[in-house]
């Protein structure tokens, strides 16, 4: 795994916000700006989607990102691709080593399948996504929620075709940083999942920073 550190100083960031677990965040990031997600307490999955600010129908595509880099995991150097074949953002620094884009977001309905029918009533990432876009009145709807990135989440795949949600490889203070290659809208759910180790069974806040 490649570890690339950043030279950017948080004191010079133009935006600095701590997002509690279970909360959404919908925010524009301009072309050329650098966006950092900092895992404050470790092993916190950050479910993330990106849309072109100019055209929300152009959005992050997990499959296009995977097939163009020929690799399942995201790390420093990964280009986050849209379905139109354009680079939305490039990961320029990463002290965690790898991030998932297969596992998707938790949802009330998928929790009922994965754990128990009555787990449907636990808070989920998709509820956070829907709450954010429901309030924002920005034209986004459920149709626009596709496969997302799970920063700091560890989803190993085996050669014989198994996939698991494993204990995290992140730790307090690890971060991932990306440069916006076009004006984008970021939609984040700081994951509230309590039924698997993606948040070490203890969802915690993350810090979001932007530099010009």
């Amino acid at each position: 795994m490649t570890i690339v550190e950043s030279a950017l100083d948080p004191r010079h960031a133009i935006y600095d916000y701590t997002l509690p677990a279970g909360e959404p965040w919908l925010y524009p990031i301009k072309q050329g700006q650098t966006f950092r997600i900092l895992d404050l307490e470790g092993n916190q999955a950050v479910d993330t989607l990106f849309y072109s600010a100019a055209d929300h129908e152009e959005r992050y595509s997990a499959t296009d990102t995977i097939r163009r880099q020929g690799n399942l995991y995201l790390s420093a150097g990964s280009k986050l691709m849209s379905g139109e074949g354009n680079v939305l953002l490039t990961i320029v620094a990463d002290t965690c080593g790898r991030h998932d884009t297969l596992g998707g977001a938790c949802a009330a309905e998928s929790n009922s399948v994965r754990y128990a029918l009555d787990k449907k009533h636990m808070h989920s990432c998709r509820d956070s996504f829907l709450l954010a876009i429901g309030h924002a009145d920005c034209g986004l709807a459920k149709r626009d929620i596709a496969s997302n990135i799970n920063f700091f989440m560890n989803v190993p795949v085996t050669e014989d075709g198994e996939l698991t949600f494993a204990d995290g490889i992140s730790a307090p203070g690890k971060y991932v940083e990306m440069r916006a290659e076009m004006d984008v809208i970021a939609l984040i759910s700081n994951c509230p999942q309590l039924n698997n180790p993606c948040n070490a069974y203890n969802p915690t806040p993350v810090r979001l920073l932007i530099w010009d």
């Binding site: 020929g70 690799n71 596992g103 009922s112 399948v113 198994e162």
Partner: protein, 243 residues
């Protein structure tokens, strides 16, 4: 290996899908769709949508994580984003179908295979799955927003420990078959273009046979329903939707 012949009394329709072709149709709940790779080496990109509520659609992530799998074969089911089962894989002669690598697009086909437009090649033009599925989605009032991660039937891609992907050439011999049982009234959208990671430098789309037939309803000991406890709950969610 081939599946037992379908009782002719039960056949609803049978059509071939030409190499590079695309199609879409409704499959009613309970009916089966058998897919056959006629010549070997086919790839069939597929999307599934709830026919009655088209914002409910196949969800790659939920399908993978609910069944702890990176591949699809007999026993696995295709989950929607609403915790329901759109269709089940009831039989398969191959053991592996991809659902992670997405679809080809116009730029990929042009760079990899060169230009073969309608003007120069007529219906032998090089099609791509993204445009083909977009055409089919638009026929039903859907569009780009509904282009999500698809299944690539008949294709196998394995991942090394560091995540590097390797396409397995020659995975699907002629006559390979996979069979789906629809658990919901489903809009099926298909494109028979090469897999995006197929290293073959020639554009080698292949034809398929599609056979729809009336099957028996799932029994209590059904292989897909009992494959994992998650699937039993997925079937309960699906049955409740139709009560």
């Amino acid at each position: 290996m081939t599946l037992p012949a379908i009782d002719s009394q039960r056949v609803l329709w049978s059509e071939s899908l030409p190499a590079g072709g695309h199609d879409s149709f409704r499959m009613r709940r309970g009916n089966r769709l058998r897919l056959t790779d006629l010549e070997g080496g086919a790839n069939l990109a597929a999307l599934f949508v709830n026919y009655d509520e088209k914002t409910e659609r196949y969800n790659m992530a939920d399908t993978l994580k609910a069944q702890h799998t990176f591949h699809l074969t007999t026993g696995f089911v295709c989950y929607s984003d609403m915790g329901r089962v759109l269709c089940s894989i009831t039989a398969d002669t191959l053991g592996w179908h991809d659902t992670v690598c997405g679809m080809s697009d116009a730029a990929l086909v042009r760079v990899k295979y060169g230009a073969a437009s309608y003007q120069s090649h007529h219906n032998a033009m090089y099609r791509n799955s993204r445009d083909s599925l977009l055409i089919e989605l638009e026929k039903w009032g859907l569009g780009k927003r509904d282009l999500v991660a698809n299944v690539n039937f008949f294709s196998k891609v394995v991942a090394e420990e560091d995540g590097k992907l390797n396409f397995q050439s020659g995975h699907s011999p002629a006559g390979s078959q996979v069979e789906l049982r629809f658990e919901m009234d489903t809009l099926v959208l298909l494109s028979a273009c090469p897999h995006p990671l197929d290293p073959n430098p020639q554009y080698s789309a292949k034809p398929l046979l599609l056979e729809a037939y009336r099957g028996d309803p799932p029994t209590a000991d059904d292989v897909c329903r009992n494959f994992r406890p998650e699937n039993s709950r997925g079937f309960i969610n699906t049955e409740r939707y139709y009560l």
